[in-house]
Symmetry: C2
Subunit: 429 residues, 2 copies
């Protein structure tokens, strides 16, 4: 089921590219539909949201806002033990993210010069959480907590209701624990339009984060620039580097935990051991049988499950960097000694007791990670995504006087005489 | 010429919104043309670039790469004094940006737990610089230096040639001083397509930064996600908060230095002094006459020049935060004491000897700043734009054992049994 591919060092790049395809797709048809929905929400506000919720989610809502009593009712449905679990995960996430806080800095140099950057939270953040049949309390924690740690005052969550018009109690409990300020029943491109432009009920936000289907993803791209967005997420991915002696059962289980997400999810093993590769192949088939989401995981393995066999571990790291996977597990001895070789990955899991679900749910680092090779240029969601900077510049008269020749020379090179004049006028008299 | 608007505290929000419009525009026609150009470059590589350069820039190139001898020839055309000016600006920019460097951090907690983030530079950055008649050596420095400080190994600059097939000597000199690794003659959407997807001559990059016209801006948006981009820049903006007693000549000169950029540039004064407002109105008309780019500046002032009159300075800060301007000058006494009131701005200039051209060219902070109100959620270009993070997670066997109840409970809430299995399998035997 998982395809074995032998990679020789000379053609590594081409072989890996041929097997790990991530196509750039303009999605023109979807974009037309999404643009129409966004325009409708901009023009017709809440009424458009009510209409789309009826059309797409199959329910006629009486109110878009989730009421206090709905939240109280939901909290009664979640056991104390479950609440404690959510709370413990929230504590770990908060503790990790507090390390990402950045502070305003100002350097006052010679002669009264001041240079620096103010670091401030954005004011309003919107958080999209899938709903209907999907229940992702962990996504609520992972998206809302960094915003709150950054100091965002207003965090609003949008999520599509199920056919009875309700939101999952787990989702609501997680929102309460994370400190979400307002919860609204809206999904799809229409929810993104509402967050970007506001409606009678929904205040427009400055940034939209959180996972969603292709309509949500395309809508986020479309409003990007008017508001900020986190990233355009693709299917989930895991890549495991394992050496001879690694535990094939653990490897197979971790590969499958990624594969069960989605038929387009991809699970890749890179190893220098053919026996291990073959053992993992067997284990995957064996374990698949016991999974509830067996069909999805099997389809994912069939479509995208790959095992690359390399001559030595150095090549394994090269391939992993080329793939730039969302999750990278190192099932090798003394994995920390190899950290310097990891150039591109969303998150790296070290050793055989650090399986990917530990990061998905509990350890603290964010589970919103760059997919589809975007780890080449982007980062896990973090507090930094909810902070922004303002540069500060102060020169004294003396300081500006000394720099005036250089500033005006640069303005002249660019042919901008009003820029030059703004300097000269201060020293004319 | 600059319109006076009295703002009373009660309707501040609406009055300011009515006068500072920034429309969201899908640009559908331009997008179709841009998509076609990008697709052509993807399919036909260098040949498409040669064709578009002939079509749009009016020149038949023999080579896309700027050769060593072209660079040497350009350096001979720039005076030693001009080189020294570029070098001094580069030194200031480098010194400021070095303060933005971030370091990998790892916390090793109890029982062998390790959590942290690796911080790494992206590998390849592409830098778009306008060309033809436009000459912006300062943009070369401001975009290339942060990349180099971050540790980006390959920085490639693209810029459209003039009708003789050449690139401005100032642009080339700045590229050399900033440490740009390769310079290519290509402009418009075709250059962005080439940077995103690569051609025979151009290696695909991970991130594209730098200013450009509407075709460049839309092309950047279109490839966003496949590669990263800096931001979608709008027309330049300045907002000045000034109190009674501020120097009207300086204020007018600074407003005009912004207005000369572009007919769509906007220059706004907010003051509690009607006499100052009227004096600035007169000074703008008086100074305009002496400017080379008088027509552009006059059109900008006519279209977007505004003076808001407020009852007290507190309201001035509220308006400035609502506008979230690219440049904010505080022409008030003891401006540093008011820094806490600045929530949203690209850069803030303190006092009467810190005019905006000081920041454009020389002081060190980046001149690539968020426009069109995007300072609500985005930051000046910085070293952080060329760094990205990888989370690190390591648990020991004991640590995972203690967390296993919580992790599996969360997996069950989300209905993901393979995630649960990846934990259980490690403790089954």
């Amino acid at each position: 089921m998982m395809k074995l591919i032998r990679v020789d060092d000379k053609r590594m790049d081409q072989i890996v590219s041929a097997h790990v395809k991530r196509d750039y797709d303009p999605y023109e048809d979807i974009d037309l539909a999404v643009q129409k929905i966004i325009n409708d929400v901009r023009q017709n506000g809440d009424q458009a949201l009510f209409n789309y919720t009826k059309q797409f989610d199959g329910v006629t809502l009486s109110s878009i806002k989730v009421s206090e009593s709905e939240i109280e009712e939901a909290l009664r449905q979640v056991s104390e033990q479950e609440k404690a679990v959510l709370q413990k995960a929230a504590d770990n996430i908060r503790r990790f993210h507090e390390k990402q806080l950045e502070k305003t800095w100002l350097d006052d140099g010679t002669q009264g010069m001041i240079l620096g950057q103010l670091i401030r939270p954005i004011e309003r953040a919107g958080l999209y959480i899938p709903g209907g049949k999907a229940v992702y309390p962990s996504s609520v924690l992972m998206n809302a907590i960094p915003a709150k740690v950054a100091g965002v005052k207003y965090v609003v969550m949008v999520t599509p209701p199920d056919q009875s018009g309700s939101v999952s109690p787990y989702t609501l409990a997680a929102a309460q624990i994370a400190g979400v300020d307002e919860i609204l029943k809206a999904g799809g491109a229409q929810a993104i339009g509402a967050l970007a432009f506001g409606t009678e009920t929904i205040n427009a936000v400055d940034k939209i984060v959180g996972p969603g289907n292709i309509f949500v993803a395309r809508a986020k791209r479309m409003v990007f620039g008017h508001v900020d967005i986190d990233m355009v997420a693709g299917p989930s991915e895991i890549c495991i580097i394992a050496e001879s002696g690694a535990n094939a059962k653990y490897i197979a289980a971790d590969l499958l935990s990624q594969a069960e997400h989605d038929e387009e999810a991809s699970a890749i093993l890179i190893t220098d051991s053919l026996p291990l590769a073959e053992e993992v192949q067997q284990e995957v088939i064996h374990q698949l049988d016991q999974l509830e989401r067996k069909e999805i995981a099997a389809a994912s393995m069939q479509n995208h499950g790959k095992i690359f066999i390399v001559d030595h571990l150095e090549s394994a790291f090269q391939i992993a960097n080329q793939i730039a996977p969302e999750h990278l597990e190192l099932m090798i001895s003394e994995p920390t000694l190899h950290l310097a070789k990891v150039r591109h990955a969303g998150a790296v899991f070290l050793g055989e007791y650090s399986p990917e679900p530990l990061g998905d749910y509990f350890a603290g680092p964010n589970h919103t990670l760059p997919t589809s090779g975007t780890a080449r240029f982007s980062s896990p969601l973090g507090v930094y995504d909810f902070l922004k900077k303002t540069s500060v510049i102060h020169y004294s008269r003396e300081q500006l006087y000394q720099a005036k020749g250089e500033i005006t020379a640069l303005a002249r090179m660019e042919g901008l005489t009003a820029h030059e004049n703004a300097i000269h006028i201060r020293f004319d008299d």
